[in-house]
């Protein structure tokens, strides 16, 4: 392994036996344990792990910018061969100015809000003794390099005048200005829209070809890491549990944790009728807890006495490493969740739909500041089916959800019908049956669950108000409901903040089901959760649907999860329905160019490249939407004037599958046919 105290000078970064702790209320909480890895010259190394595993701390340690309460308790960090924690102040400054730079999440906050971009970039060059005029030219050249077409005006802007994607480009340009030997990217695309993320990732990949810098890429997203990195390290509770070449590690993982993580992901076109996703049982150990034996033993199906007693070393498996006593057995890790699932519901489309939405529109504001958040949306939802709702942020997904629920009233000429009867626009005007029929699972359970109420109170109140369960029967119903969402009885008396994210989301789901609703809107219910928890929640939603025949409107930006759960999919752009149809048809095409772009924005975990179409820029403002087809400003397949002048109608390309595009479906199929074959989205049966 690479933990040799004298690293070869060629390494851009060597971390050896790093022990790091945060001091919290007088106690040291160990964050990194015996962490060792190295990044060679020109290499791109990915560090992947779930939240709380310490990956960002690694990034901060690598530039010696720890929080006030952070302290190094052992080991060393060498950047370009120099021991970071032995450097004096001016040497450290010198190192930062010449050798290492960093880009992190939320570029809006990484740039100084009160200085123009030109000034912020200029000071990097000024530090190297470059005069003002030349610094300006160099800054302009750097912006060009990050593919900003017209850099001059950007230099005169303040950060808030740029979009998120632009801000991140500027941050990357700043980081690369010093031609660093080591570039650290800490979740650089998290929080950006998928299409923007794809652009930024493309950019980083291309720049890597141009500049021979080494990269430490940190992300929670396995697919992003798979796409961007040569080698990968998997971090669990501050410990490196597995490391190896990207392809080896993702195709043939040798640590039970990696195996489990990969199985949690709904990928390769996996769908709910293919069976449940696997999960990882248990919880991440609390930070600072003292562990004996293997750190993962508590959650590992392979664990035995040895694992609980003796901590395994990082075993060399010939160019790759695994911190497991039974690394040879890891690929055959028994499933934590059985795959079998109740037979999927047959959806009776010959019957009347539960929910009919006709000409739904929602306009915010008035006068000059009118925002058409939704316009002319027509939808039907049948009993027991899941309708997936996809689109970038600003596409109107959440507004549609809120309007259906009655939390926001739609424009007056909109029609929403439940079981053929008109549904009042506001929940306050709906009758108890109607209120009961539509419920929601919110994205963020911290926000959705009242933190002053106990779990019992939260669910119990819904039982009382919606299901009208009498006081005497309430406890029995409560217990039945919590068991249905696989929540142990002992959690009934606690308050939400004492629960983990996944448990909180179960409480929210139990509450949504309390009144036996007909329709549940799931608004990004898993996007705040780690993958291992996400899988369990998706399984639960699928199980409950099969048991109770509820319909879901499932909103997500993650196309993998949407595909897993949805029977039909609707694609929204600027508040308009661009495409709607059966999930498989929408995914397999022919599809709307926008859908095509969304699909090609998703990095595949297999790391294989595919034909891409990319969107230019970002979603336009809904205050002043483009004329004609609203997508024409970004459409890579734009025909010409017709797209700018006339809004195309939603036309059926096949029964039940409608596309809003001037290009006829068969031509689209022809255009996309080449792409479709190379695209790795055949629905494949589970292993």
């Amino acid at each position: 392994m690479s933990a040799a105290p004298t690293a070869p000078a060629a390494d851009a970064l060597t971390v050896s036996d790093l022990e790091l702790a945060y001091r919290v209320r007088g106690h040291d909480r160990q964050v990194l344990r015996k962490l060792s890895f190295r990044i060679g010259r020109g290499e791109s190394y990915g560090l992947v792990g779930e939240s709380g595993c310490g990956k960002s701390t690694v990034a901060l340690a690598a530039v010696r910018y720890l929080p006030r309460n952070g302290r190094i308790r052992g080991g060393q960090v060498l950047v370009d061969g120099r021991d970071l924690f032995k450097l004096g102040d001016s040497d450290l400054r010198q190192l930062r100015a010449t050798t290492v730079s960093m880009v992190y999440q939320d570029p809006g906050r990484a740039l100084n809000p009160s200085l123009r971009i030109g000034r912020q970039m200029g000071e990097i060059f000024a530090l190297r003794g470059i005069g003002k005029a030349e610094a300006h030219d160099r800054a302009e050249a750097m912006l060009q390099r990050v593919r900003i077409a017209d850099p001059r005006p950007v230099l005169h802007r303040y950060p808030h005048q740029l979009s998120g994607g632009m801000q991140q480009r500027v941050a990357i340009a700043m980081a690369l200005s010093i031609e660093p030997k080591l570039l650290i990217l800490d979740e650089p695309t998290t929080g950006l829209d998928a299409t923007v993320e794809a652009e930024v990732l493309d950019l980083i990949a291309r720049l890597r070809g141009e500049i021979s810098t080494s990269v430490l890429f940190i992300s929670h997203n396995l697919a992003v890491i798979a796409r961007m990195c040569d080698r990968v390290g998997v971090l669990y509770a501050g410990t490196l549990v597995e490391e190896g070449a990207t392809r080896d590690l993702f195709n043939d993982p040798r640590h039970p944790y990696t195996v489990g993580l990969l199985r949690c992901l709904p990928r390769r076109g996996r769908r709910k009728d293919h069976g449940r996703l696997d999960t990882i049982p248990g919880f991440l150990p609390a930070p600072g807890s003292v562990m004996q034996g293997c750190i993962f033993a508590e959650r590992c199906a392979l664990a035995d006495d040895l694992c609980r007693r003796v901590e395994p070393d990082l075993v060399d498996l010939g160019g790759r490493h695994s911190r497991c006593h039974y690394h040879d057995k890891a690929p055959g890790l028994p499933r934590a969740t059985p795959s079998d699932m109740a037979a999927p519901l047959a959806i009776a489309r010959e019957q009347a739909p539960v929910l009919t939405v006709a000409n739904l529109a929602k306009t915010f504001g008035s006068g000059l500041h009118r925002v058409r958040a939704l316009s002319g949306v027509n939808l039907e939802l049948w009993s027991g089916e899941t309708l997936g709702l996809v689109g970038e942020s600003g596409s109107g997904k959440s507004t549609l959800a809120r309007v259906l629920l009655g939390l926001t009233a739609p424009d007056s000429d909109s029609r929403v019908e439940l079981d053929g009867k008109a549904l009042p626009g506001s929940t306050d005007d709906r009758n108890p049956e109607q209120v009961k029929a539509l419920q929601i699972v919110f994205q963020n359970p911290d926000s959705a669950l009242n933190r002053s109420h106990s779990v019992k109170g939260l669910i119990g109140r819904s039982l009382a108000k919606l299901a009208k369960v009498a006081r005497g029967d309430r406890m029995a119903r409560l217990v039945a409901l919590t068991r249905a969402v696989r929540l142990a009885d002992r959690y009934l008396s606690v308050r939400p903040r004492q629960l983990s994210g996944g448990l909180k989301q179960r409480v929210a789901i139990a509450r949504a089901f309390a009144g036996d609703p007909r329709i549940i809107v799931c608004d990004e219910p898993t996007s705040a959760l780690d993958v291992s928890v996400q899988a369990a929640i998706l399984n639960l939603l699928a199980d409950l649907q099969a048991e109770r025949r509820v319909s879901y409107i499932f909103i997500s930006h993650d196309l993998g999860t949407v595909r897993y759960l949805s029977d039909r999919i609707a694609v929204l752009y600027l508040g308009r329905l661009m495409e709607i149809g059966p999930a498989e048809s929408v995914f397999n095409g022919p599809h709307h160019p926008y859908t095509e772009a969304l699909l090609s924005a998703v990095p595949a975990i297999d790391g294989q490249s595919r034909e891409r179409i990319r969107l230019e820029g970002e979603i336009p403002s809904a205050i002043n939407p483009p004329s004609g087809c609203v997508f024409h400003t970004r459409c890579p397949r734009k025909l010409g004037e017709i797209c700018e002048l006339h809004e195309p109608p939603l036309l059926a390309s096949e029964p039940g599958h409608e596309i809003r595009c001037h290009i006829p479906a068969d031509v689209l199929a022809g255009l996309q046919h080449i792409a479709v074959d190379e695209k790795r989205f055949p629905s494949r049966l589970p292993k």
């Binding site: 010449t98 906050r109 100084n112 009160s114 000071e123 530090l127």
Partner: protein, 319 residues
């Protein structure tokens, strides 16, 4: 464009505030007392005398008429007659305002550099002993009533050490330096109150800016500490502090009732106190409304200053 919109909106809001304020003052001066004549003459006075006085003062007219009469004259600078001095109110207010401005200026010049330096310094040494001392001392100074600190300061500097004059009123015909000398002791209680307040803001702003991502960016660029501090930290940290300071100008000019009374200084606060004691409602109303106007103006200035200095408001996001 954006800034202009902010300007118009603030101006309008300030006007509404002032109008409400005038209602409030009117209510206090002519509505709450019920019978003004009775309130002036006391419970034992003869009913006829009271009615007479009411008529003479015009307080027996309908309230709306009274309000209109009062406010329409007020905006033209006619603040009606003082009951107490039997003379027009306006000249009294003008002189007093001038005096208050002098006192405020001395306090302001003393407190601003001191408190910003203290706050930033504490933030740069957060958690250390001196930070704690500055923080606790600042908090205590801010919360103590001015008459308490004033009394103690008088005892120390005026009586025991005998360095500074106890009264604020300088001899007739004194030059500016002598006037400032007389104003130092009265301004000290004000300095104490403001020191803690401004220093706390400066400290909090600096700590926030030090922890911000953009400061991390600046440090990781390899910039010298001095540049990081001046260009990146303080530029963002002191923005809210500047507005707080501008807001406090209002307090400094209008909030001096106690200090001016304690030091027998005829500023606007002292005038309000005299009017309150003498139940001189026209004087009281005029004084209070003047203070309110100054307050509103200084808040408005603070708002506009903030908007002008903050590029996020100066240049709205491009669409």
């Amino acid at each position: 464009m954006n800034f202009f919109r902010v300007l118009c909106k603030r101006l309008l809001l300030s006007l509404i505030t002032l109008w409400l304020l005038s209602l409030l003052v009117f209510a206090g001066g002519q509505l709450l007392p019920g019978d003004v004549g009775r309130a002036i003459l006391g419970p034992l006075a003869d009913a006829r005398a009271v009615a007479n006085l009411d008529h003479q003062l015009g307080t027996d007219r309908p309230l709306l008429v009274q309000y209109w009469d009062w406010i329409s004259h007020f905006v033209t600078g006619d603040m009606s007659m003082s009951y107490l001095f039997r003379a027009p109110v306006a000249p009294f207010i003008a002189t007093a305002l001038m005096n208050s401005l002098k006192l405020a200026a001395v306090a302001f010049i003393l407190v601003v550099p001191l408190s910003i330096f203290g706050g930033v310094w504490a933030a740069l040494h957060v958690g250390r002993a001196l930070d704690r001392i500055i923080s606790v001392a600042g908090l205590s100074a801010t919360v103590l009533p001015e008459f308490v600190t004033g009394i103690v300061l008088i005892m120390i500097f005026g009586v025991w050490l005998d360095w500074l004059p106890i009264g604020a009123t300088w001899p007739e015909g004194s030059g500016p330096l002598t006037q400032i000398y007389y104003l130092i002791l009265p301004s000290l209680p004000l300095v104490l109150v403001l020191f803690g307040y401004i220093a706390r803001m400066a400290r909090a702003g600096t700590i926030e800016a030090l922890d911000a991502d953009y400061t991390r960016t600046a440090v990781l660029k390899g910039l010298p500490r001095r540049v990081v501090l001046w260009r990146h930290v303080l530029r963002n940290a002191l923005l809210p502090t500047i507005t707080v300071i501008a807001t406090q100008v209002g307090y400094l000019i209008g909030g001096l009732v106690v200090v001016e009374h304690l030091f027998h200084y005829q500023g606007i606060g002292g005038l309000i106190y005299t009017a309150a004691r003498g139940r001189d409602f026209p004087m009281l109303e005029a004084g209070v409304l003047t203070v309110g106007i100054i307050f509103t103006l200084s808040t408005l200035t603070a708002d506009l200053l903030y908007s002008a200095l903050n590029p996020r408001i100066r240049f709205g996001a491009v669409e």
